[in-house]
């Protein structure tokens, strides 16, 4: 594969590091005019309204400029005019594949400000839901990444699994994507009867079907041909661009909030962080796939730990965070999600800043795409997992 990689790649000039212009070396003897190809905002590969302008030399990418903002909904400003319960319902929606994990961050932030004690059972339920949500998210990307590489089938399998899990989560939360299950102080209502049993069943089934994805996608030589060595991300670049989550783990760095600074009860159980070696597209996919298995392990542990008791603590009718500020970070499916919550003591935040993983992760795209072929550009675009709403907010 790599013998095609005749191009020396450099950091885009806006990234920390030396200031180098785009330059293609070893360009051959048929210099041709550049073509600028706009992929998106409505293009099948961009899953959402994301646009990327490629400067093409034949099928080789000379430069890539992501154009974001087509989906900007002003979340941070909206949040300043909503109380904390409403913010939880809002944050569901910026990364619509990880609704639960998003609202979890808000709940933890508010609780920390209020110094609120959250019942044990609520924390375990939150973990259980967060891990199921993680699997939901990863299944989506596994399906869509395979689809971007032209394999249609994994998408259908992934959606079959997603349907089971969504049904499970719906039975407890009432929602399929936007769960709105967290509230400051715990979760809204306890699990329905039989939930844990079904959860264990689905965990078992999903684990059994895991091999299908390994055989169908990960082990496939064509898939490996399309991904191994494509878009390798060096560790230092990843760190300097603030990349987190599976994209970072693929480079071999095990920075995961669940392990490094455990929240909820993650400290009480074993959390495995699958790691890659080269940070290429294959490793990114590998990490994503194995995170499903890791999450299933966590879920099984949670089943064994689930205590009895209340699931929420009594709150005043109007939650008012005391004056002050806090930064809370949680490990979202796509990377670290940070919420900066600043309160002037009122019922709404004075400032609500989001540090979303997708926004940081797309910073890697211009770097990764330099010198890639057009089909590789798609492979790279798909392997840097992002949700457009999470970029634009």
């Amino acid at each position: 594969m790599s013998d095609l990689e005749t191009t020396e790649r450099v950091l885009p000039s806006n990234a920390p590091g030396e200031d180098v212009a785009f330059e293609i070396l070893g360009d051959g003897d048929f210099p041709t005019a550049e073509m600028s190809l706009s992929i998106g905002p409505a293009h099948p590969a961009t899953h959402g309204v994301f646009r990327i302008v490629l400067d093409l030399d034949g099928e080789r990418v000379r430069g890539a400029r992501p154009v974001i903002g087509y989906m900007h909904r002003g979340f941070e400003k909206l949040a300043e005019y909503r109380d904390y319960r409403q913010i939880a319902a809002l944050t569901n929606r910026h990364d619509w594949l990880s609704g639960f994990c998003n609202e979890l961050g808000v709940a933890i932030a508010v609780e920390s400000m209020l110094e609120l004690e959250v019942p044990d059972r609520a924390q375990w339920i939150r973990m259980l839901m967060a891990e199921w949500n993680r699997i939901l998210n990863h299944l989506m990307f596994i399906g869509s990444y395979a689809l971007e590489l032209g394999a249609i089938t994994p998408m259908f399998y992934a959606f079959r699994e997603r349907e089971d899990i969504q049904h499970l989560m719906e039975s407890a939360t009432g929602g399929r994507l936007h769960f709105t299950y967290n509230q400051p102080g715990g979760v809204k209502i306890d699990l329905p009867k039989g939930f844990l049993k079904r959860s264990a069943e689905i965990s078992k089934v999903t684990r059994e079907r895991f091999d299908d994805y390994v055989d169908l996608v990960l082990g496939n030589e064509i898939f490996q041909g399309r991904t191994v060595g494509v878009g390798p991300l060096p560790q230092d670049v990843a760190l300097s661009l603030g990349i987190t989550g599976p994209t970072l783990h693929a480079t071999g760095i095990a920075e995961d909030s669940r392990v490094t600074e455990p929240y909820l009860k993650y400290g009480d159980i074993d959390v495995e962080v699958p790691l890659g070696e080269n940070g290429d597209a294959f490793d990114r996919f590998y990490v994503l796939l194995h995170r499903i298995r890791a999450s299933l392990d966590i879920i099984d542990q949670i089943h064994d730990h689930m205590p009895a008791g209340p699931v929420n603590s009594k709150l005043p009718k109007m939650v008012k965070a005391p004056e002050g500020a806090i930064y809370v970070r949680t490990e979202n499916p796509l990377g670290q999600l940070g919420y900066w919550l600043e309160s002037d003591g009122g019922r709404t935040p004075w400032r609500f800043k989001m540090r979303t993983p997708s926004f940081s992760n797309v910073q890697a795209i211009p770097y990764l795409m330099q010198g890639a072929l057009l089909p590789d550009a798609i492979s790279i675009l798909g392997s840097v997992f992002f949700v457009v709403g999470d970029i634009d907010r």
Partner: protein, 412 residues
Amino acid sequence: MAQTSLPGTGLLKGLAVTVKHLFKRPATLMYPYERNELAPRTRGVIALMDENCTVCMLCARECPDWCIYIDSHKETVPPAKEGGRARTRNVLDRFAIDFSLCMYCGICVEVCPFDALWWSPEFEYSEYTMDALLHEKDKLREWADTVPPPPALDEGAEAPAEVTEAIAKAEKELEAAAQKEADKAAAAEAATTEAKAGGSGPKKADEPKVAAGEIDQETYDALIAEGKSERIARSKAKAAYVKKEKARLKAEADAGGGDAEAAPTPKAADIKVEAGQIDQETYDALIAEGKTERMARAKAKAAWVKKEKARLAAEAESAAGAGAPAGEEAEPPSPTDAAGSDQAPSTDAPAEEPAATRKLGDVHVEGTGEIDQETYDALIAEGKSERIARAKAKAAWVKKAKQAKLDEEGGA
């Protein structure tokens, strides 16, 4: 990581996976012909029981995208008694939800203090234009009929406030009755307590309320020995404890209520106070009175528990009349019984009218949401939320009213 033993194995495995699925049942649900069973909590559409709505506007104010439209006017209600003061109340003219704006967060349902808004799993209300998604209260009222009963909670869950309160109340009443007669039969009580003490766990004999979280150590050990997981054992042991404890309380009450020999303890396994059982009669009556469904259900539940206990007591009495020895009947439940406690043996038992003396729970009082201000203020002062305080105050009012009525009757 990208290793395969032989080139082409990966390709063959891909073929194997797909051909394996060729012979599997498709996962498709043939939607218009088959329907998915949606969970009761599914947030499909918001239903309105407009008779419960007091036009407090909380939902409209809390809605993050302001999609609820409410119009109302004030109406003067003539005084209930002559010479009383005329009161005004709000009358709902319009209640509309724009489902093209709604983001289905459920905050309105959550904040509604009078249980006027409910989630229904209905979802097939798509329209060809966005305007048509603005639904008025007639339509919202229709959906209210599709609201399913809430699902039972997980074993490890704390029972909902309504249920715990109702149970606690019923048990308090029983205990009060027992206390009343305790002087008459102190010796008998002591004997019964002793007889029960062997099997009823390490709890205090006079604990009035069955606290969640206690476990029946015996059952627990037995289950662990059987190789069950700790979690399962704990939950079952908990259930066993609750059952035993209730049996014990019941026994105490019965013992207090009558002759020691004539009032043997009913079989512990028969008393299964399962949350969710409701007394249909009470329920219907309350609904007919215009109570909210939730309140009616809670009360009916309490009524059921009471009736059931009364029935069991009556049974036990008659059994004692037939000369059954008390000690043998009062076996402690075995671990297997405890393990099987998920099945409710008394579910189908007819709710007979108890022949016992009138107790507090039998008294029926009219009430439409009055609250006991004293209790309310006390609770608010304690820092409880308004909603909880109101609910408790309401309960307190009902209790007081009943007590008053009972006293009146007794006096008569």
